[in-house]
């Protein structure tokens, strides 16, 4: 499923073919439904199930690079697979479009696609410019790690898959106390000040601990850390200038791809200062 964050999508479409992954764009996909969840849960389930059913029709696993879409789809799969009544009800709603949800296809996110399906060794083989000497902080994002009951691509308390990918790229990583802290995005609509405080606190801590960049894998988190970095800095009275990249952009750099091919000009944080 495509995302509105072009830099993420551009870089994904650059690196995945190199790793022998073919992305198939299917017509008819809609929103995953997550933004409506607090208003109408049935609608969220229906929209997610509809997308999954379209994927099933083409006999393909679903790739959702957005952590929030991935959560909505996973939650839908969890509910429908464990609640036959709800499955029946949703399938009755899908019937008008001649769709049916079976639940026999997987849902993957960028992180497990790279780490579990492609394999670290394959990534290592494509590295042309190792990220030597770069100490990089990771941010997984709440939607990717929790709730663990429904099955998430990474461990909920001690996620390590991005770290392992970064090591394969030749970069350094280190645990930091604020690693699992929220980016602040869910508060942005109602309590913008609080949201930016969360964003700023986390970026400040990363900067103070000597990291030279932050990688993320969620469009929402990225918006907070990258696009709103200056504002977040003002909120916590700190001068923030830390490059924030999508993991896929960083992989592209390590693979020796040109910056413009990875959508780096779309990043608002100072990615230009990242040198290796």
């Amino acid at each position: 499923m495509p995302t509105e964050q072009y830099a993420y999508e551009i870089s994904l479409r650059e690196i995945l073919p190199l790793l022998d992954v073919e992305l198939v764009d299917i017509e008819g996909f809609s929103c995953c439904g997550e933004p409506m969840k607090s208003v109408n849960q049935l609608m969220t389930l229906y929209l997610s199930a509809r997308n999954l059913a379209i994927g099933e029709k083409h006999k393909l696993d679903m790739f959702a690079p957005c952590a929030m879409c991935h959560l909505a789809l996973s939650e839908c799969k969890y509910v429908l697979d464990s609640n036959p009544e709800m499955k029946k009800r949703i399938n009755e709603m899908l019937a008008s479009e001649d769709l049916n949800y079976h639940g026999d296809k997987g849902i993957v996110h960028t992180v497990d696609l790279l780490h579990d399906h492609i394999d670290i060794e394959a990534i290592k083989q494509h590295v042309k410019k190792p990220l030597k000497g770069l100490k990089i902080a990771t941010h997984y994002g709440c939607h990717l790690i929790r709730p663990s009951e429904i099955g998430r691509p990474v461990h909920s308390e001690n996620p390590q898959k991005i770290e392992e990918i970064l090591k394969a790229l030749g970069a350094e990583t280190a645990p930091y106390a604020q690693k699992l802290d929220c980016c602040g995005a869910p508060l942005l609509a109602n309590l913008p000040e609080s949201a930016l405080t969360k964003t700023g606190q986390k970026l400040k801590a990363i900067q103070e601990q000597g990291f030279v960049a932050l990688v993320d894998v969620c469009p929402w988190c990225h918006k907070m850390f990258d696009s709103k970095q200056v504002k977040a800095g003002e909120t916590v009275a700190a001068k923030l200038d830390i490059p924030v990249l999508y993991l896929t952009q960083l992989i592209g750099l390590a693979f020796g791809l040109k910056r413009e091919k990875l959508g780096l000009e779309l990043n608002l944080s100072p990615v230009g200062k990242l040198e290796f």
């Binding site: 461990h155 308390e157 001690n158 645990p175 106390a177 604020q178 699992l180």
Partner: protein
């Protein structure tokens, strides 16, 4: 034709509520061979027993069927009753219409129908029941106790003081177990070693106790009254007869203070030649073959430094593992517990040096510990200004251990008290708890006292312990005030869950014991046989059965010793005759039964080439009966003919 009496029990309303007992009684009276059929409210009561005995006389019965609860409950009772009445006790058949009928169903009509089937098949079997005789075997009046923590020590002393010989096996170089690692005990604040050491000395000097330290159980054969056990004695590389415990070898060891001391839970260091703690029993040194340069790498300088240093010539690198065989009548298992490794709960930050467990803190508090009783943080060896306890780490947690560890609250409260004493008034002490379970005698009073010692109590589970470098930060939502607190602290102490020993599965398999769902050893009945196991003659005591404090452990250990005495004190044991037998005309002497028998009860007779049954060893497991290709092995009173008669009658 047999003269059978059927006796149907109401079991109060347990059976009568779901099964029409009167109809059953009437129905049974019309079955083949049944001359009398009666019901009573409690057949196991004195009145019920008299009813059966009188009926035997009045109707000249030679076989009895009781329709009641599971034979596990009252088969023995009714055997005695009919034996008193003059019928062979093995001419009894139980129709289980409670566990297998009334408790399992709710439809009265259908349940009554099912009960009829059960009674009919029982009567069918009763018609073919043979009278059997019990035989007697002599008992070895000696006991094996596995594990020499406080449970094993108490059980051994009780047995030895009753005049029985005890072999006490301990896998560590010294006896004492977990209790010897503790500084003080709750709620009385008794010095742990002051109350334990006298018992350890008593064990060492008792003429009825033979101690095997640094040893493990390697094998077991036989059954109740006559077990043959193999004890594996690991090489100490020190001749215990010559060693005086002077410590010259440890002082000379080239690895002195370089090997992690497991007795100090990794907080302190030792050498390869070491004694785990100063009050060790036996007071002998051990050379750790995993680390010793000479044993692990074949070279320790010019010549091993310990051998040079030992004036007694006690160091012997040629020692080999020894297997010692003993015969015992009963066995007590007291193998204790492990602590959950908090690393599995990443959010509690155990990877940081200043996040430790309660047992690690115990070693810091102990005056014989690595810091000589000074409370110093592991990272910078400074006194902490703030200490935070987190209870229920992995306990009462569906993702880890569902059970309560039963000692976490009280041991942490005890440590709070001791820290207040050692660190003074100004140190901040926080306790994050789920519930304080101060259930024992004097525990609640102790809790009240500790709360008064300027202790900050937070009710809740911290979401995360963050390592901020020199300090730890804890977010906790206090559910009594509904407020979120952020605690910044110097030292975090985790009270981890109590878990079964890491080798519990293999150990249980060795002794044919059963584990409960949580992985601890299963008792035969949680209320009425808490020290027994399902293997006759093997008893359990202490935390191997489930978490408990020292008080409960000692009580259970004395209980287990007393249970073992009921076997050891007998000269002979009656052997249940419900065991295997051989139809000599059918046996071809193929020997399959000899191979499959897990109890070594089957053997081929040298002369006749027919497979015999050793009645003292056979437990009636049925393995040889199922595997016999010529149907020559039979199970007394569970013969094919009897069973098929039951089946024929109900289909």
């Amino acid at each position: 034709m047999r003269r059978i009496g059927v006796f149907v029990c109401h079991c109060g309303i347990n059976i009568a509520h779901t099964v029409d007992v009167e109809e059953l009684t009437k129905y049974a009276s019309n079955l083949d061979g049944v001359v009398v059929s009666k019901s009573y409210k409690y057949m196991c009561s004195d009145v019920g027993a008299t009813l059966i005995k009188d009926s035997i006389k009045e109707f000249n019965l030679d076989c009895v069927v009781v329709a009641s609860c599971s034979p596990r409950m009252h088969e023995h009772t009714f055997r005695e009753v009919i034996s008193d009445g003059g019928v062979n006790p093995y001419r009894l058949e139980i129709a289980n219409i409670r566990e297998q009928c009334s408790w399992a169903h709710s439809d009265k009509e259908k349940a009554t129908e099912k009960a009829k089937f059960l009674i009919r098949s029982a009567v069918a079997k009763a018609q073919l029941l043979e009278p059997l005789k019990t035989s007697n075997i002599p008992v070895t009046p000696e006991a094996l106790v596995i594990g020499a923590g406080i449970a094993g020590i108490q059980a051994s002393l009780d047995l030895a003081n009753n005049g029985f010989k005890v072999y006490l096996v301990e896998k560590e170089p010294s006896i004492g177990g977990r209790m010897s690692q503790l500084d003080k005990t709750f709620p009385t604040l008794d010095c742990s070693s002051c109350i334990l050491t006298p018992k350890m000395m008593e064990v060492a000097n008792h003429q009825n106790i033979e101690l095997f330290t640094y040893s493990e159980l390697a094998g077991i054969e036989g059954s109740i009254g006559n077990y043959k056990v193999k004890i594996k004695k690991k090489p100490r590389y020190v001749d215990v007869k010559k060693c005086t415990g002077c410590g010259d070898c440890a002082a000379a060891c080239r690895l002195k203070d370089r090997v992690t001391n497991e007795f100090d839970m990794g907080m302190g260091k030792r050498g390869a030649a070491y004694m785990p703690f100063p009050q060790a029993v036996p007071l002998k040194y051990t050379i750790d073959s995993k680390h010793c340069l000479f044993l692990a790498r074949g070279k320790c300088g010019e010549t091993p430094a310990c051998r040079e240093a030992c004036a007694q010539g006690a160091i012997n690198f040629d020692q080999k593992e020894e297997i010692i065989e003993k015969k015992v009548g009963a066995i007590i298992v007291a193998t204790g517990y492990d602590l959950l490794d908090p690393s599995s709960l990443y959010e509690y930050g155990y990877a940081a040096p200043d996040v430790i467990t309660t047992l690690e803190l115990e070693r810091l508090i102990s005056s014989s510990g690595p810091t000589k009783g000074e409370i110093l943080r592991p990272s910078d060896k400074q006194k902490p200004k703030s200490v935070t306890f987190i209870l229920c780490v992995g306990s009462r947690d569906e993702t880890q251990c569902t059970w309560c560890c039963r000692i976490g609250c009280m041991s942490a409260l005890k440590q709070v008290y001791l820290l207040r004493e050692k660190l003074g008034e100004d140190v901040e002490i926080n306790v994050c708890y789920t519930d304080i379970r101060s259930y024992g005698k004097g525990y609640e009073e102790f809790y009240r006292k500790v709360r008064g010692l300027k202790t900050n109590m937070f009710r809740g589970r911290p979401s995360e312990v963050r390592n901020m470098g020199t300090q730890q930060k804890i977010d906790i939502f206090d559910t009594t005030t509904n407020k979120l607190f952020e605690i910044t602290t110097d030292l975090v102490v985790l009270a981890p869950a109590l878990v079964p020993r890491s080798n519990a599965v293999d150990f249980a398999r060795l002794l044919h014991l059963t584990l409960s769902g949580d992985g601890f050893l299963l008792e035969a009945h949680p209320k009425l046989r808490p020290m027994d196991t399902f293997v006759n003659g093997i008893f359990i005591a202490g935390c191997c059965q489930g978490p408990k404090d020292i008080q409960d452990t000692v009580s259970q250990a004395s209980g287990a010793a007393s249970r073992a005495t009921t076997i050891l004190a007998k000269k002979e044991l009656e052997v249940d005759p419900l065991i295997a037998a051989v139809d000599e005309e059918l046996c071809t002497g193929c020997g399959v039964c000899v191979e499959v028998c897990p109890y070594d009860a089957r053997a081929l007779n040298d002369k006749s080439k027919i497979a015999e049954v050793n009645e003292a060893l056979c437990v009636g497991c049925g393995a040889c009966i199922a595997s016999c290709p010529s149907n020559a092995s039979i199970h007394k009173n569970f013969t094919k003919k009897q069973i098929l008669n039951m089946v024929d009658d109900i289909i």
